[in-house]
């Protein structure tokens, strides 16, 4: 955990420096007669962040914070597997939205999670896989008039057909 604590502080420090640098695109000083410039707010707050990361790092080195005193690994083998399976699944889900549309991608994710990760029966998995997107479709498209992504062009005829039903 101690190494993780130090690495996290380091990553946050890099983020702070990046945001400080990005803020300098606008005036970061105090313009006389006008108050702070457009970049001042994010710049100085990022600077405070940077100071905080230094303090966190120092406490980590001196083993003053609880995570740096712990010898547990940040992620054990099972944790890594979980992260890969669950977060990986979410990541693929979002990637598929652009290709197969939100509704189809949603179904694929549900099936993956329920059947493969959750080890539910095929019947239950399939039912939820089909029913959920259908409910979402009618709730969002027909009732709420919110259009969710429809994927690439080859999906278009399907949705154009569905549109003739709901409108």
């Amino acid at each position: 955990m101690r190494l993780g604590e130090l690495v996290t502080a380091g990553v946050l420090a890099v983020l702070s420096i990046y945001m400080m640098w990005k803020s300098t695109e606008l005036d970061i000083g105090y313009i006389s007669g006008e108050g702070p410039g457009g970049g001042a707010w994010p710049f100085w707050l990022s600077a405070i962040m940077l100071i905080c990361t230094v303090m966190i790092f120092y406490k980590g080195v001196r083993r003053l914070s609880p995570p740096s005193q712990s010898d547990e690994p940040v992620l054990d083998a099972e944790g890594r597997k979980m992260l890969l399976q669950v977060f990986g699944g979410i990541f693929v889900f979002v990637a598929l939205v652009g290709i197969f549309s939100m509704y189809v991608a949603m179904g694929m994710f549900l099936f993956y999670y329920l059947w493969f990760l959750g080890r539910h029966t095929l019947r239950l998995s399939l039912t939820l896989t089909v029913v959920t997107p259908v409910i979402f479709f009618f709730f969002f498209e027909a009732l709420m008039r919110i259009t969710l992504p429809k994927g690439m062009e080859f999906m278009e005829p399907i949705y154009n057909y569905l549109n003739t039903i709901i409108y």
Partner: protein, 506 residues
């Protein structure tokens, strides 16, 4: 007396069969819209606006107000059951609502939230009825320095909220404030902090993207990791007897928070720039500060659910006040309602009360009726939400992920924000592992977009002289109180440290 006569006619109008039906439908619909993470009263009201052409204007606004009310109640549901604040107004509800749910007391949290909402709503409607025109001038006297002072106060009430690790808490606050500045600087008219030149950052980082990322994805990953996915989230139980027992417990433990929230929420809510979110946050903070047992907050104290819930309902009625009397919306939802009134040919503004009494009092009457129905309908749906919570975790978890992704998209209609949201989720998962408190970041991203412009507009007004925050009659006292509140815990810390040093010496 005249007010009472007008109110009676308003109530009678709200109780007409068509209007009553619209209220029941509106509240139910609003409840579900509010309970969906990512969708809030704004969506409900905006989307249903054109449909209201089918009914007369008075019925139309009654319908929309019912949706608004329902959504305000509904926001608490996802905060408590899923741990995801569905709207910024419900952030503070997660602080104690979620721990209660994890302890198996989800029904207590839901019932307390419903009752507190009802009380908050009722108190604010009474204040509204009695003092509307007078309060309008109070709202006008709040300029930028006053609003900034108020934001400072909101932060001050939250200083004690973070974890024990001070650098991590400060870092979290600053991160939220910097994220709030992303996008576009209205004052210099320049794009700002457009990370890596990605155009998706031009519209800034929406509060919901961070909140759903942190709570819907990060927190879920953390739960799966720590429990190895072997649990059902809660052992929530519910019976008919339970509702009354919970109601009793909620009232005895939450009355203090409810009363604080009802009044504070209303007064913050009527200020056009502030609205319901700072109102609910401040009420939570004040309830905690003035409590005899502040340590129990954040661990599942019903008072911590009651205070923000009473406040956000109270404030949403309050934010109707500047809309009706000044034509100035206090929240995005009231902005859309305002548009609706223009569509129906009404001119919101100082003359609305005298020119269109039937409309105004019909609306106020509908507040009373909607509020009552919202309570009844909400309570009757609680068993359904409890049932959902008792689903096996391997069914609930993917559903929450799906809701999060869809909600993240619906918030801004941009896939960029969905990617950003899952990145925040992954980041939050690791930060959570290293004890970084993330609630301060979520609060900061809500308050930052109000605090920064008002700070700079005030300084422009004073030619860069910061004494403007101390010399104005309303801003001055608020600023002083806020600064004292911020410094108090610091003094406490220094005192503790001095004592600790003295001890080994003696």
């Amino acid at each position: 007396m005249e007010i009472l006569a007008l109110l009676t006619s308003g109530l009678l109008e709200a109780l007409e069969p068509l209007n009553l039906l619209l209220i029941v439908i509106g509240v139910t619909l609003g409840l579900f819209i509010g309970a969906m993470p990512g969708l809030g009263s704004v969506n409900g009201v905006a989307i249903l606006l054109p449909i209201t052409f089918l009914v007369p204007p008075a019925s139309a606004i009654i319908f929309l107000a019912a949706i608004y009310y329902g959504a305000m109640y509904g926001g608490a549901i996802s905060s408590i059951t899923l741990g995801i604040p569905g709207a910024s107004t419900a952030v503070a509800t997660t602080f104690d609502g979620r721990p209660l749910a994890m302890k198996g007391r989800a029904s207590l949290a839901l019932v307390t939230a419903a009752i507190a909402s009802f009380v908050g709503g009722t108190v604010s409607i009474i204040l509204f009825t009695a003092f509307a025109p007078m309060l309008a001038s109070v709202a006008l006297s709040f300029g930028n320095p006053e609003i900034f002072a108020l934001m400072l106060l909101a932060f001050a009430t939250f200083v004690g909220l973070g974890g024990d690790d001070i650098p991590k808490t400060i870092l979290s606050i600053c991160l939220g404030l910097v994220f709030a500045a992303v996008g576009f600087d209205e004052i210099s008219g320049e794009p700002r902090l457009v990370f890596f030149g990605i155009p998706g950052f031009l519209h800034g980082i929406n509060f919901l993207v961070l909140a759903i990322g942190v709570y819907g994805i990060g927190e879920m990953l953390w739960t799966i990791d720590t429990t190895r996915g072997k649990i059902t989230t809660t052992e929530a139980k519910m019976s008919v007897k339970g509702v009354f027992a919970d109601a009793k417990e909620g009232i005895t433990q939450g009355w203090r928070g409810t009363s604080i929230g009802s009044f504070l929420g209303f007064f913050v809510g009527i200020l056009p720039a502030a609205g319901a979110t700072p109102g609910s946050l401040m009420s939570y903070g004040v309830a905690k500060l003035t409590s005899r047992d502040p340590g129990s907050y954040g661990k599942g104290n019903p008072d911590g659910v009651a205070a923000p819930e009473a406040a956000n309902n109270s404030a949403s009625t309050g934010s109707m006040l500047p809309m009706l009397t000044l034509g100035i919306p206090g929240s995005p939802t009231t902005a859309i309602l305002l548009g609706g009134m223009v569509i129906w040919g009404l001119t919101p503004g100082p003359r609305l009360f005298t020119d269109e009494p039937a409309f105004v009092w019909g609306l106020i009457g509908s507040f009373y009726v909607s509020n009552f129905f919202a309570l009844v309908i909400n309570l009757s749906f609680i068993p359904l939400f409890i049932w959902m919570l008792r689903m096996p975790f391997t069914i609930l978890a993917p559903m929450i992920f799906v809701l999060s992704i869809v909600g993240g998209y619906a918030a801004t209609n941009d896939m960029h924000d969905v990617w950003l949201m899952i990145a925040f989720g992954l980041g939050a998962f690791f930060l959570r592992k290293f004890d970084y408190p993330l609630a301060p970041a979520v609060l900061a991203i809500v308050l930052g977009p109000i605090a920064e412009p008002t700070l700079r507009q005030s300084l422009l007004l004073s030619s860069g002289d910061p004494s403007i925050f101390f010399t104005r009659p309303i801003a001055g006292p608020i600023t002083v109180i806020a600064i004292i509140l911020i410094l108090l815990p610091l003094f406490g810390m220094i005192r503790d440290r001095v004592r600790r040093r003295e001890k080994p010496a003696t």
